[in-house]
């Protein structure tokens, strides 16, 4: 056409719909459930077979999950430590090269933007893995510092190998050198292959990181060793169960990442999420420090707590009452834990509940008895320890199972 108009079909096509990760064809073959979800724009399995099988494989055997959709950012340069230390609440000077650190970062009001893991490859070389897209924020945070921020979300892929037999699988796949890794250690085992002893399960487990185009090979290499160790591929539903057992919080579920929340007052501070131990006030300035200092003095507005809930009915979304009358909060994540054999939950309570006040708390759960709804108030107790703890998670070298 010569009239200067542009035809839509002539414009370079933008992919429509979800994108496949390199191992999608493998997953599609295995999947009997065909339950797929959207993880940061990628097709990701919610369940491949059944959630129960997958859950028990995490706790008793080992499991493989494609974590490539995670957002990954490389931060390098002479000021990398200073720049990241100004961004996150914990003191990264104490995180040595070859270590991984769980970290939170806040806006200027001390409200959590996201949480994630920081991998320190070398003195001036970090990678941040997180759930939310963080490129713009990192560029803002990097302004004025001698660093380079590269979005590696689509160039670095990863597999999460978790469960008691995970080390045995690694060994069988020729990666036995990972045996010396302590929790949160990070090592380059082969050119282009970094292995960290990290995960979201609270159990023994590893994450393996490779260039995007090498993921299939890595998958096949581990998958070949699955039989004797009972390894299964899993989806994210089973993972969600174990992370609640381990007491990990999930963005958009247990807290609202403040940059994505449009309503006022939806943000929460690390202190309110129960992570005051990761707020290192003595390290110098970091984003939100002044606001968080104030809150340390005045106290949190909310407390995110672990609850042991009476009865068997998972209490997802249940309202929490004090003395059965006053509404003081709600459950953010709740499941029946097959391992703990308890009805467990994470819940947000309005302070002082969950802090100084923990007695006489009740959860309101609805039970549908074949078409008839019943409302029950069940007692809840605040727990300080994670619901799942096993010393095999920390033993180094890992024990063979």
């Amino acid at each position: 056409m010569m009239d200067g108009r542009i035809e839509t079909r002539d414009v370079a096509a933008v992919p429509v719909g979800l994108i496949e990760t390199p191992v999608f064809s493998r997953l599609d073959q295995i999947s009997t459930a065909k339950q797929w979800g959207n993880w940061a724009g990628y097709i990701s399995p919610l369940v491949l077979d059944t959630m129960e099988f997958e859950y028990f494989a995490i706790r008793n055997q080992s499991t493989l999950l494609d974590v490539s959709p995670m957002h990954k950012y490389r931060v390098t340069g002479p000021d990398a430590e200073t720049m990241l230390n100004r961004m996150v609440t914990r003191d990264l000077r104490k995180v040595a090269p070859g270590r991984v650190a769980y970290a939170m970062w806040c806006d200027e009001e001390g409200m959590v933007i996201d949480d994630g893991t920081l991998f320190r490859f070398a003195e001036n070389d970090f990678r941040l893995c997180c759930q939310e897209s963080m490129h713009g924020w990192l560029l803002d945070a990097a302004w004025g510092f001698d660093v380079e921020v590269i979005d590696e979300s689509h160039s670095v892929a990863g597999l999460s190998l978790q469960g008691p037999t995970s080390f045995s699988v690694l060994q069988a796949a020729g990666l036995g050198a990972a045996g010396s890794l302590k929790p949160f250690d990070l090592v380059k085992l082969e050119p282009d292959l970094w292995v960290s002893r990290t995960g979201f399960t609270g159990d023994l487990g590893y994450e393996l990181w490779v260039p995007w185009d090498r993921l299939t090979k890595l998958w096949d290499r581990l998958w070949a060793q699955r039989a004797p160790w009972g390894m299964r591929a899993i989806g994210t539903h089973a993972l969600d169960m174990v992370r609640i057992e381990a007491g990990f919080v999930a963005a958009k579920v247990d807290f609202q990442p403040v940059l994505t929340a449009s309503r006022l007052g939806r943000g929460r501070t690390p202190i309110e999420l129960g992570f005051e131990r990761l707020v290192h006030f003595d390290k110098g300035h970091f984003n939100g420090r002044r606001a968080l200092l104030k809150q340390r003095d005045t106290g949190p507005r909310y407390n995110l707590v672990r609850l042991d809930i009476g009865g068997f009915k998972p209490a997802q979304d249940a309202l929490i009452y004090h003395r059965k009358r006053r509404e003081v909060g709600h459950v953010t994540s709740g499941i029946w834990s097959p391992t703990a054999k308890r009805n467990i939950a994470l819940a947000e309570l309005r302070a002082p509940f969950g802090g100084e006040k923990t007695d006489d708390l009740w959860a309101e759960v609805y039970v549908n008895e074949e078409g008839r709804w019943d409302k029950r108030l069940v007692p809840v107790t605040v727990q300080t320890k994670p619901f799942f703890r096993n010393d095999r998670a920390r033993a180094t070298p890992p024990r063979a199972f």
């Binding site: 720049m83 961004m87 200027e108 803002d140 302004w143 004025g144 510092f145 300035h285 002044r290």
Partner: protein, 490 residues
Amino acid sequence: MNARFDVIVIGAGHNGLAAAEALAKRGKSVCVVEQSDAVGGMACDRLAHLLYNPAPSGVETREIDTVSLSPEGAHVLIRRGEARFTSGKPHPDAAAYQTLYRRLVRYAGLLHQLAEAPPPGLEQGVTSLAGLRELSRLAKLGVGVKRLGKAEMREFLRILLTNAYDLLLDEMPDGPLPGALAADAVRGAFSGPRSPGTVLSLMYRLRHGGGVFLPAGGMGAVAGAYAEGARRAGAEVRCGLGVTRVIVEGDKVAGVLLSDGGRLDASAVLSSVGPMQTMRMAGIAEFDIEAVRRARKLRAKGSTAKLNLRLGGVPEFTGLSAAQVKARLLVAPSVAGVERSFNPAKYGDLPKQPVLEMVLTDGTGPSTLSVIAGHVPETSWTTDRRESFTASVVETIERFAPGFGSLVEEADLLTPEDISAMTGAPGGHWHHAEMGLDQMLTTRPTVGMARYRFGVAGLYLCGASAHPGGDVTGAPGRNSAAQVLADGVA
């Protein structure tokens, strides 16, 4: 041992000096550190020339008329609300002009109390004494607005956020008369009369009653009086020494490092440079990411140039008496013309018909015509460009004063680039930060900085970028000092 002061002020611009005087008067030991060899900053003979507000004590001022030049020779003589032709004939729009002008001055008076103190804010809530005081100030503005009467109140609120173009041309036909107000609304700003917020900036300029004053001895004398005031109150003023770093320890200001390698200790530092420059001096890592982003994105695009023309004789303007030549002379032939002069600036080009404010100054000798030209580009001033711009200004004047060009013996052009290099003002901007609706009052210079403090305890802004903005008023400096005293940091 380093020398120790309660307060250090970075920059002996008139605002830094005003802050120093206010603090020293309250018994604080104050040291003003100025990088250049002279006090005054932009308030110097080569740059600023007129006052729109009372001068500091010790400076005589003379109120002068404004003459808005007409290409057809129908020049308008204006003093406050009165307008007539320079020939003495009545102006057909004099009544409409007077009504509008008086209304603007009345409204501007309401803003005056807001300008003379830190901007209102209810950050402390109303449960504290300070919070209640804030509320009462806001209430006073509310009462002031109410007192106008219902119709006037509606009018005030209607025009407050509109643009000068619509406001002026709703009341009268276009020409040099409304052109003068349009030029006053945008002088120093990167905006045209059609830009939103220009009614507010016009009222800001009229908030002292709308008079235009020529200081005896020039702006240098005004700066000298500010310095004298500071010294008399007990402040020390050191010139020829720049601050290179603000020392921060434990999230508190501890002092400054000087360009000669020395160090001064203090528990409060007031900075008359822009927020970003101040952040750099203290270290970007000391500030929150959002605060740095806002400082980065601050609009401060300098758009005003200064041309000092040394003349070999007194110029004659067609149709003006010898006395009228000594008025403030404006080349702003119409509101539309002022808007058109802004258009090329958007693309970094020179105005084709520059809008000028000229005055034969007393300060630099009677034979100097001090010319302020608006809507020029901030950067890329090549020699060619400088010369062609100077020529176009002289040519413009020549149109009203035949033979003017041959009187010019020397032309001293200061572009925004030059002004920035001379004073450190961000972008060489008249107000250090654009006076846009989004950068005024409680959001001046940006969100979270309206209380003069930002981030690090003891660090304050005290220059034109802070509320209420630029011009030679001393208000930002005094307000900042008041905030320092209220915070009790020094």
